[in-house]
Subunit: 234 residues, 2 copies
DNA sequence: CCCATTTTGTTCTCGCGTTCACAAACTCCT
DNA sequence: AGGAGTTTGTGAACGCGAGAACAAAATGGG
């Protein structure tokens, strides 16, 4: 009824699983680097920091790539996960906003090794444009459309101040970018069909602070109770 | 029965809600900056990028800080959320690994304005130690204990290469740090009672790549079907 | 060749989070 | 004062994800 290959029939991978596949991929790469050719779900789960039942369930959404009684072939599974995620070829990426963070991102070697290729660095500030960062010359933001068309870019990274984030996102969307990674602490609205993921340092720290405060309060309360009951640990 | 204040009686805030409180806090700050003194759950939900039912339910875990028929007082709610998260005072933070990313973090002004204060920058590389970054002199990693004791630091940030992450984390935990924000692409194991949060650029990009690939495949499949059925949209 | 052992793939159950829908509570206008 | 109009706070239904538990499949030894 369609020309689809049998491998993608009705496969809907849960979002929670999709978010873990890259972790498994990284763990498998680490195992391979250590010369390990086969591993059990237990081994891989430990390396990835999850429990083995969850790991097996996640992998089962991709297909049956293990061998019962044996485990998984590291290289084979690695390839299958990479194929599923879509990082067997490199994705071209543009970074907009070459300030403190943009510089760090441009210098990040992990991009290339994990399925991405920075094809351009863009900034609106004329004093930044023309600088060479990590061997790439920063180009003016207005060149975005030309670059996106030339390299068929689908993924854009926003590393501008928060006030500029929505404008940059709007421009990206208008030009045809359909996936955005946003480092600016701002909610960006995009039309249906465009994915936005947010990386927010302050939020992460504030979540830690919340739990830290609870730990302190809990300790206080426990101490208070201990005093009241006259109880003392051994 | 205890000396606890009435405000923390049996309040267990769901983790998903905790993760959104910082977003609400930021949205409220933005509203306040625009001179808005009161807002409805609908307004705030829009600013925070969530739906209003979820927002109200989240806020209800903190208490009843709104007024029916009116909405929320922006400053009052902002204070209540900040108090709940624990960012009414600043948390001292140390950053370990002053490379590309560490530099960007050290220069990030958003720390200070959101409840955190960088008390030290640390690195194991002697050629980095002594450099002044964002007005702070980088100190040798071995000074960690002294600094943590002096400033009563509970939160540490890891921005070292992946291979060093576990060692750094172990050292932090040994010294008494109980919350870690890890930027290195590595799973770090910590004892119970220590919180670790991970920020991983590559994982975020790979998740985007997965959906991007699906969009492409979906379009292909739709096109294939269109061809097969002889169907053509207007 | 058969059986014990290992390890996967899957089913089932439980709990959490999201969303809907509405009663309660407040304001403002007449 | 009373009623119309708003908006909050929450009870209930639903769906998804986590984890336990087990059947199916492969290996290797006797
Ligand atoms: N530095 C960090 O470690 C860090 C951490 C977390 C979040 N962030 C966030 O990341 C973003 C960037 O941070 P930063 O420290 O690099 O800021 P920055 O001010 O150093 O750099 C921002 C860059 O964006 C450029 N820019 C501004 N408006 C633009 C536009 N409309 N189009 C294109 N480029 C534009 C500026 O010219 C500048 O070069 C900010 O939103 C910040 O809140 C930074
Ligand atoms: N640069 C980025 O934009 C980026 C993005 C995502 C993730 N990361 C990750 O963040 C981490 C840092 O990235 P980077 O580009 O800044 O790397 P980098 O190599 O520039 O900096 C790492 C720093 O850590 C120091 N270091 C190494 N071992 C240490 C130890 N045991 N104790 C203390 N300090 C030590 C090094 O001296 C160096 O200064 C890496 O794990 C990287 O994968 C970086």
């Amino acid at each position: 009824m369609t020309t689809r290959s049998s491998t993608d029939a009705a496969r809907v991978i849960p979002e929670a699983t999709v978010a873990r596949l890259p972790v498994y991929l990284r763990a498998l790469t680490a195992l391979a680097d250590n010369g390990i050719r086969t591993c059990s779900s237990e081994d891989l789960a430990t390396a990835a920091g999850v429990n083995s039942a969850k790991l097996r369930k996640d992998l089962s959404y991709l297909g049956s790539y293990g061998t019962r009684g044996v485990g998984y072939d590291v290289d084979y599974l690695r390839y299958q996960i990479a194929r599923e995620i879509g990082v067997t070829q490199d994705w071209p990426v543009v970074i907009v906003g070459i300030g403190n963070l943009g510089h760090a991102l441009a210098n990040y070697s992990g991009f290339r090794s994990r399925g991405f290729r920075v094809v351009a660095l863009l900034d609106a500030d004329e004093s930044v444009v023309g600088q060479s960062v990590a061997g790439v010359v920063v180009r003016p933001f207005r060149d975005l459309e030309e670059i996106v068309r030339e390299h068929d870019v689908a993924i854009g990274v926003i590393a501008t101040p928060a006030v500029a984030a929505q404008d940059v996102a709007d421009r990206m969307v208008a030009i045809g970018i359909t996936s955005i990674l946003n480092f600016a602490p701002a909610v960006v609205a995009v039309p249906e069909g465009v994915d936005v993921r947010k990386v927010d340092l302050s939020i992460e720290l504030q979540i830690l602070a919340y739990h830290e405060q609870r730990k302190a309060n809990g300790a206080d309360a426990a101490a208070a109770v201990a005093v009241e009951t006259g109880g003392g640990a051994a």
